[in-house]
C-alpha cells in the first residue's frame, strides 16, 4: 500500500522525464538520422527560441496568471533591433541589449497592469498582444526587414561554437539555480501559491508579480532575436502563436495553471519533448498538418498521466 503510493508520487513528480525518455528512445529507434550531431544541433538552434519563451511564460503562470503577449514581444523586439541595425552600425552585443530593453519595457507594462492595476493576466496581456503587434507593424510597415551582412548570423554559426545554444544552456542553468537557491525564486513560487499569506508574512508581493512578467518579456524578446538570427530577417508576424507552444511546454513540465508550481528544468524538458515530436516527424517525412494533430494528442496524454 505504502509502496504503491510512492510509485504514484514518483510518476507525477518525474512525469516529464519519463515522457522524455520514452520519446527519446522512440525517436532513436524510428530514425537513424535522429542521433546524428547535425540533427541534434539543429534541434538546439531551432528550439532556443521556444525554450526561452516557455521558461519565460512559466513565471506568470506560476503567479496564477499568463502572458499571451510573448509572440508580439518577439516580433516587436526583433523588428525594432533589426530596424536600428539597418540604420546604424550597432554591433551584436548592443543589439541584444536593445532587445532586452524592449522586452523589459513590455514586461514592465504587463506586470504593472496585473500587479498594480489588479487586471487578470489574461486580459492585460491580451490587450498588450494586440497593441505591441501594432507597434511591430508600424516599425516594419508590414514588410519583412532584412539585415544585410553577417551580424546576426554569427549567433547561429558553427565557427563561433553555436552562441545561441551556449547562451540558452547557460540561461537554463541560471534559472534552475535561481529557483532552487535564491530568496527571489522562493518568493516567486510562494507568491503564486498564496498571495495573501505571503503578503501577511511581510513580503511585498506586487514586486514579485511584476518581476514574473518582466522575466517573461525579456525572455520573449531574446527568443525573438534567436528566431530572427536564423534568417537575418524579422517581421510583425514573427513569433505568432508562440504563447500556445510555450504553455504546452509548461503544462508538459507539470506547471500548475492555477499557480504555485513550476520548475524551469521541467519546463525545459517539456519544451524538448515537443521539439523531439516535431523533429522525428520531419525526419520521417510526416506532413505539417498531421504533425499538429499528433502533437495535440501527445500533450493530452501526457497531461492525463498527471491525473492517474
Amino acid at each position: 500500500m505504502k509502496k504503491e503510493f510512492n510509485i504514484r508520487k514518483f510518476c507525477v513528480n518525474y512525469n516529464v522525464f519519463i515522457i522524455f525518455s520514452v520519446l527519446f528512445i522512440a525517436c532513436t529507434l524510428l530514425s537513424e538520422s535522429f542521433l546524428l550531431p547535425i540533427n541534434l544541433f539543429n534541434i538546439g538552434l531551432q528550439q532556443a527560441a521556444p525554450i526561452f519563451v516557455a521558461i519565460g511564460v512559466m513565471f506568470p503562470i506560476i503567479m496564477g496568471g499568463i502572458d499571451l503577449s510573448v509572440g508580439s514581444v518577439m516580433a516587436l523586439a526583433s523588428s525594432g533591433v533589426l530596424a536600428v541595425m539597418n540604420k546604424t552600425d550597432i554591433g551584436l552585443g548592443l543589439g541584444l541589449a536593445l532587445a532586452v530593453l524592449i522586452g523589459l519595457a513590455c514586461g514592465l507594462l504587463n506586470g504593472f497592469l496585473v500587479a498594480y492595476c489588479n487586471m487578470p493576466g489574461f486580459v492585460a496581456t491580451l490587450a498588450t498582444l494586440t497593441t505591441l503587434k501594432g507597434f511591430a507593424y508600424l516599425i516594419t510597415n508590414g514588410n519583412t526587414i532584412k539585415v544585410t551582412g553577417n551580424v546576426l548570423l554569427d549567433l547561429c554559426k558553427r565557427d563561433y561554437g553555436y552562441p545561441t545554444i551556449i547562451i540558452t544552456a547557460v540561461v537554463i542553468v541560471l534559472f534552475i539555480l535561481m529557483q532552487h537557491y535564491t530568496v527571489f525564486g522562493r518568493l516567486i513560487l510562494a507568491t503564486g501559491s498564496n498571495r495573501t499569506a505571503v503578503e501577511l508574512a511581510g513580503i511585498r508581493v506586487k514586486r514579485y508579480i511584476l518581476s514574473a512578467y518582466v522575466i517573461s518579456g525579456v525572455m520573449a524578446a531574446l527568443a525573438g532575436m534567436w528566431l530572427a538570427a536564423r534568417t537575418s530577417t524579422s517581421n510583425a508576424v514573427l513569433g505568432q502563436g508562440a504563447e500556445l507552444n510555450a504553455v504546452a511546454a509548461c503544462v508538459l513540465g507539470g506547471t500548475s495553471l492555477s499557480g504555485g508550481r513550476g520548475s524551469a528544468l521541467k519546463t525545459f524538458v517539456g519544451a524538448l519533448c515537443l521539439a523531439m515530436i516535431g523533429n522525428i516527424m520531419n525526419l520521417m517525412g510526416v506532413g505539417a498538418y498531421i504533425q499538429n494533430i499528433v502533437q495535440g494528442i501527445i500533450i493530452v496524454f501526457a497531461v492525463l498521466m498527471y491525473g492517474i
Partner: protein, 497 residues
C-alpha cells in the same frame, strides 16, 4: 422497544493510523431534534461525513427505519432520505431560488422546463416553511445567508429528505435569523422529519433539541434527554477534564507597554479604538464575529489603511502601510483563516515555516538560501512546539489542523516577534493541540513577548488572558481585568445589554 428512524451502530473510522471514531453509536427517533455535541476534533463531522457517504466507515452498521442501509457514496445517502447541510452552503449564486431547489430535475422528467409549475412548486415549499416572502425568481446570490439556508433546506425537502443534518447552521446568522431558523426546524419536526443538529452553543441546544449525544475525542460518551441534564453536566461530559487543566499556568512578568493604540479609525469596522498591551502580557480581544477586532489589527500592521489615530510601538510612533514594515519591526499576525491567509497549502512544510524569516536562512544580502541551515532551523523550531510531521518536504496540506497551525506559529516564532497578534489561534484544532498551542503562547509571554489574542471562544479568553478588551460594532465597549472575567460580563459587553 421504540423504533428509531436512524441508527448508527459501533461506527469506527481511522485516517492513516489515527482513530477518528472509535465505536461510536447514534440513534435518532422520527420527528426529533437530536443534538450532536462535542468539541472540535471530537468526531462529529467525521460521523456526519460517514452518514452522508463522503467517507466510508471501517466498521459498524447504519440502519434506516430498522433496515440495514448500504451507505457508501453520497448517492446512497440521498436515496436513504439523508441530507446534510454544511456551513458553506452548496447553492449556485447566479441561479434563481426555484432553479436551485429543483436543480436535480428541473424539467421534472420531461425535456422542457415547465417554469410555471416550477415556480408554483417552489412557492408551495417556501410557504410551507413560512417564507412566502422569498421570490422563486430571485437569484440566490442576492439573498441573505439566512434565506439561503432556507433555500438549501427546501432543496433537500424537495428530494424527500427524512433525516436532515445541520452543521453549525447558526454560526453565520443574526439573533433574529436564528429565531426564524428554529421555528422552521420545529415545524419540520412536527412534520415527522428527524433533525441532527450540530452546534457548540449550549443555549441553542437547550432551546431547540430533544435529545443530546455527546462525543469526545472520537468516542461515544453519552446520550441524554434535554430535560435530564444541565449545562454544567454537559460541559463535563464534553471536556472530560477540569478547565484548569485546559489552560496551563503561566509565569510571566508583565513589563512595559509595548504597543499602544489611540483613537484608531479604519473603514466602517474600526471606530475610535484605543488599547495598550504590555510585554509578557496576554491581552484578549473578545466580541461577536464582525465586531471589528480583526479589522483593528489589520489596520495596525498595515494590511488595511489606517485612516486616523496613533500607534506607538516599542516607544516610537509608527504608521505601517504594508505588513513588511510591521514584520521588520518584529510585529507579526497569525491570520484567522490559516488555509486562506496563512499557509501555502501545496508547498512543503519547510518553505511555509521560514516564510517570514528568510533572512535567517540566507546570506546577509538576502539573496541566496542556505538549504542545510534552513532544514536545521525548521526542524528545531517545529520540534520545540511539538509539531507532528513526517518530513519537512511534505506538503503542509498533509498535516492535521492543529499541526498546520503550529507551522504558522513556528513561522512567527522564527521571525523573533516582540509582539504577536493571534487571530482565533485554536479554530478548528483538536483539544490536545489546543493545550499545546496555549503552552506556546504562555512560553512566548514568559519570554516577554506581548501577545494579543482575538478569540470567539469564551472559555479560552477567560482561561488565557490577563486582560480583555471587548468590542462591538467597531467600538471598544469595555475592558475587563482577570478578576472581572466571566461569560456573563463578556456577553454583556459584547452585545451591550
Amino acid at each position: 422497544m421504540e423504533a428509531y428512524k436512524l441508527e448508527m451502530k459501533s461506527i469506527s473510522k481511522s485516517f492513516g493510523g489515527v482513530k477518528a471514531l472509535n465505536d461510536v453509536s447514534l440513534r435518532v427517533k422520527k420527528g426529533e431534534i437530536h443534538a450532536l455535541l462535542g468539541e472540535n476534533g471530537a468526531g462529529k463531522s467525521t460521523l456526519m461525513k460517514i452518514l452522508s457517504g463522503a467517507y466510508q466507515r471501517d466498521s459498524g452498521e447504519i440502519l434506516v427505519d430498522g433496515q440495514p442501509a448500504k451507505i457508501n457514496t453520497p448517492k446512497d445517502s440521498k436515496q436513504n432520505g439523508i441530507a446534510v447541510i454544511y456551513q458553506e452552503l452548496m447553492l449556485a449564486a447566479d441561479l434563481t431560488v426555484a432553479e436551485n431547489i429543483f436543480i436535480d430535475d428541473l424539467a421534472a422528467g420531461s425535456v422542457f422546463i415547465n417554469w410555471k409549475k416550477l415556480h408554483s412548486d417552489t412557492t408551495r415549499l417556501l410557504v410551507s416553511l413560512g417564507f412566502g416572502n422569498i421570490s422563486p425568481t430571485e437569484k440566490c446570490g442576492n439573498l441573505s445567508v439566512a434565506h439561503q439556508q432556507v433555500v438549501e433546506i427546501c432543496k433537500n425537502l424537495s428530494r424527500d429528505a427524512k433525516i436532515l443534518v445541520l452543521d453549525e447552521p447558526t454560526s453565520v446568522l443574526t439573533f433574529k435569523e436564528i429565531e426564524h431558523l428554529f421555528e422552521i426546524l420545529k415545524r419540520l419536526k412536527a412534520n415527522g422529519i428527524s433533525i441532527i443538529y450540530i452546534s457548540h452553543r449550549l443555549e441553542e441546544i437547550f432551546k431547540l433539541c430533544d435529545t443530546i449525544t455527546v462525543l469526545k475525542d472520537g468516542c461515544y460518551v453519552d446520550t441524554v434527554d434535554v430535560q435530564d441534564t444541565t449545562r454544567q453536566l454537559l460541559v463535563n461530559k464534553m471536556v472530560g477534564r477540569e478547565l484548569k487543566d485546559m489552560f496551563p499556568a503561566r509565569n510571566a512578568k508583565i513589563g512595559e507597554v509595548l504597543l499602544r493604540a489611540e483613537d484608531l479609525q479604519a473603514g466602517r469596522m474600526v471606530d475610535h479604538v484605543s488599547f495598550e498591551v504590555h510585554g509578557g502580557e496576554v491581552l484578549g480581544f473578545s466580541g461577536l464575529v464582525g465586531s471589528g477586532r480583526t479589522e483593528t489589527m489589520r489596520a495596525i500592521i498595515g494590511v488595511d489603511k489606517l485612516e486616523a489615530g496613533k500607534v506607538t510601538y516599542m516607544g516610537e510612533t509608527v504608521k505601517f502601510t504594508h505588513p513588511e514594515q510591521a514584520v521588520k519591526k518584529k510585529l507579526g499576525m497569525l491570520p484567522e483563516d490559516r488555509k486562506v491567509q496563512g499557509l501555502l497549502l501545496e508547498q512543503p512544510i519547510r518553505l511555509n515555516t521560514t516564510l517570514a524569516a528568510l533572512s535567517k536562512v540566507s546570506d546577509p544580502t538576502k539573496t541566496i538560501i542556505f538549504h542545510n541551515k534552513e532544514k536545521k532551523l525548521v526542524a528545531e523550531n517545529l520540534s520545540r512546539i511539538q509539531t507532528k510531521y513526517n518530513a519537512a518536504e511534505d506538503e503542509v496540506n498533509s498535516l492535521s489542523g492543529g499541526n498546520q497551525q503550529k507551522v504558522v506559529l513556528a513561522r512567527w516564532i522564527m521571525a523573533d516577534c516582540k509582539c504577536i497578534i493571534f487571530d482565533e489561534p485554536t479554530r478548528g484544532v483538536d483539544v490536545g493541540a489546543k493545550v499545546e498551542i496555549y503552552n506556546v503562547i504562555n512560553a512566548l509571554a514568559e519570554q516577554g513577548v506581548a501577545v494579543i489574542m482575538i478569540s470567539s471562544e469564551m472559555p479560552e479568553i477567560i482561561g488565557m488572558c490577563d486582560r480583555v478588551v471587548v468590542m462591538n460594532k467597531g467600538r471598544v465597549t469595555g475592558e475587563l481585568t482577570k478578576n472581572e472575567l466571566s461569560e456573563q460580563s463578556l456577553i454583556r459587553l459584547a452585545m451591550e445589554v
